[in-house]
Symmetry: C2
Subunit: 382 residues, 2 copies
């Protein structure tokens, strides 16, 4: 039974005709038609290319969305943090891969405890000290932990910096009864947003080459079906075709955002995915010609990317500008444009992952009707 | 009794010597010595100038901090949203002024219900339609709602655009048994960060002039002790001296942040307030010369201002750069600098309000000891 307090003030609008336009705002709106299209499109792509999907929950932080990704054929999910992984495991999601090293001792203890309750949990490792700490903790607990070697493919964020270092970690893992070796990961985060498609392709093909060498060596050492995991919404098609990766950690495709939609997808020559994520906001002040003030500011939208885009409820051509923590400015394109106090508008989110992280609930709509509320279970679970 | 689950994984470190350096990260750290200094410094200033304080809880979203502000002499608190106001009222905080208009019908209903439970609740209004809606709702409910006329003093965000419009609203309020008129508000948000102090002073004195005219007229109409509310951490001293405002809605002074500290305070010719708010983060990858990767990125720090500043735990001169949602890069000043995997560093927050909004708990430290955990009660309460 949903907790209507935690789900906010809009629970009473579920099923009410026209409820989408009457949401108490600001509200994060998920358009189910576009969302379901995106889930199905990526699942169909993966089937066609015979590549696995391990979608990244850092984007949506929702058990319900993870369930739908699994139901559509995903082999598991990726999680950026131990906290996200714990939420997914508690929600019954199998096959969670933690894509950043888990380093502090207290977190390693929690990871080992989580591993007992989880099905198919894996964690990346990029340093011998960390591998030793994981091995020791798993051995002490009498459990077996599955590790994946994280390889830096150019982002310089996490990952070992050479094939040799990766193989040294792999050998250590293979030599321990307390560890299993799941495979290798390489995430080219720096290439997901390269606009020029041919250049994106060239760079990603080059970046992933070490992973092929590593996977071959693991197979030669008897590792059965090692995962070779990586990619994102910017390179998933390139990487599936290149054939190095056997699973894709795509995240943003479920929602799209202004930057992915306008630049990254557009450069493919078409849009495979539809914008599904919006923030509904209300006009709270309308005392000036040329603009009104709405109740969604930088506590509702991520500010690290482009600006939110006004998609409905406002006169054509209206644009968004930040106006502080709690407010935004809707600037009209024409001097005669007006918008009444209380009018509800929607804006397409600028950068989806950190925008989602500012909210507690997805307001799921079908057409103009609010049909469900999904909690953002792992919000703030750093 | 605190909920240790909701308060995160560090509850067991309370009272443990050296616990500050062992926090499970990322963690929002509040240095109580600096924080208490800031509360006391602003309270002393207000007493000296005989001006009231109604500190803004949009900055901290914490009932515990609001209690301490009240205990130090504040006459109430300011809240940016109905959700923040509700959290403060439930926490027993009196004298809440909601500083943005409450417009949608569902929110007005909730406001009227909150007003029954609250002591000294006030809400700003900037439009006759909104005033009518508030009046109707209060009358239907058989309660009396106290409104404050919001005057645009140049920010063009909320507020009436002229003295005449303000007086028209005031007349309507005075004529209704269902409304009380609390006074006027004018917030010069656009002037808080003007670097040049003399220019900041000149502009703020000019901007607030209409409020003096309005307050005089309200007094002439028999309004007893109308509040004249406004100011922020950038202009509180200027505005207290100018004598137009009789209460200050200061927020950021409790924490400071990189921009307020380096630019706004520095231009005063000295620092009245101390940095009190930091994010503790751990090194999670250390495979490159010149930098390490820490577990605090753009889901931990606001990105609308300057960069976070490394304050402790790292080699001198190390600087922070964003590296995606969950990670930051600590760039070393010297080629020979190193930092071990698992080392904990702290960074001063870049823009305090939206940074706080990304966290759930203040980790309150005194020196090197974690002494308490305070929930960020109104986080996400848009």
């Amino acid at each position: 039974m949903p907790n209507t307090v935690a789900l906010g003030p809009n629970a009473g609008l579920i099923g009410v005709a026209g409820g989408r336009a009457r949401l108490v705002t600001p509200a994060l709106v998920l358009d189910l038609e576009a969302f379901e299209h995106n889930i199905a499109a990526m699942a169909a792509f993966a089937r066609e290319k015979a590549v696995g999907l391990r979608p990244h929950v850092k984007t949506h932080k929702s058990v319900e969305i993870a369930r739908r990704q699994i139901a559509a054929g995903a082999r598991g999910v990726s999680a950026a943090t131990l906290g996200e992984a714990a939420v997914m495991v508690e929600g019954g999601i199998p096959g969670v891969l933690i894509t950043s090293p888990v380093v502090p001792a207290a977190k390693i203890d929690a990871l080992i405890a989580l591993n007992r309750r989880a099905s198919g949990l894996m964690v990346v490792v990029d340093h011998p000290d960390n591998l030793t700490a994981l091995e020791t903790a798993a051995r002490h607990a009498g459990t077996r932990l599955c590790v994946v070697i994280d390889v830096d493919v150019g982002l310089k964020r996490t990952g070992v910096d050479s094939v040799q270092s990766a193989l040294a970690l792999a050998k250590t893992a293979l030599a321990s009864d307390a560890l299993a070796l799941g495979g290798v990961q390489g995430y080219a985060g720096h290439l997901q947003h390269v606009i020029d498609y041919a250049e994106r392709k060239r760079l990603s093909n080059e970046a992933l080459r070490p992973l092929a060498v590593l996977a071959d060596q693991l197979r030669a050492w008897g590792v059965k079906d090692p995962i070779v995991s990586g990619a994102g919404t910017g390179t998933f098609d390139i990487d599936a075709e290149a054939g190095v990766l056997n699973e894709l950690q795509v995240g943003s495709y479920v929602f799209m955002d202004v930057q992915y939609h306008d630049d990254v997808e557009a450069a493919r020559g078409g849009w495979r995915f539809k914008p599904s994520l919006f923030v509904a906001a209300s006009v709270v002040s309308a005392n000036h010609a040329g603009h009104v003030t709405i109740d969604a500011g930088l506590k509702c939208f991520a500010t690290d990317g482009p600006l939110p885009r006004v998609t409905c409820g406002a006169p054509p051509g209206a644009s968004y500008a930040f106006m502080g923590d709690e407010h935004g400015k809707l600037v009209f394109a024409n001097a005669s444009d007006r918008l009444a106090l209380g009018a509800v508008v929607e804006c397409f989110v600028p950068h989806c992952d950190p925008s989602v992280n500012l909210h507690d609930v997805y307001h799921c709509v079908r057409g103009d009707t609010l049909v469900d509320l999904w909690p953002i279970d792992a919000r703030g679970r750093h």
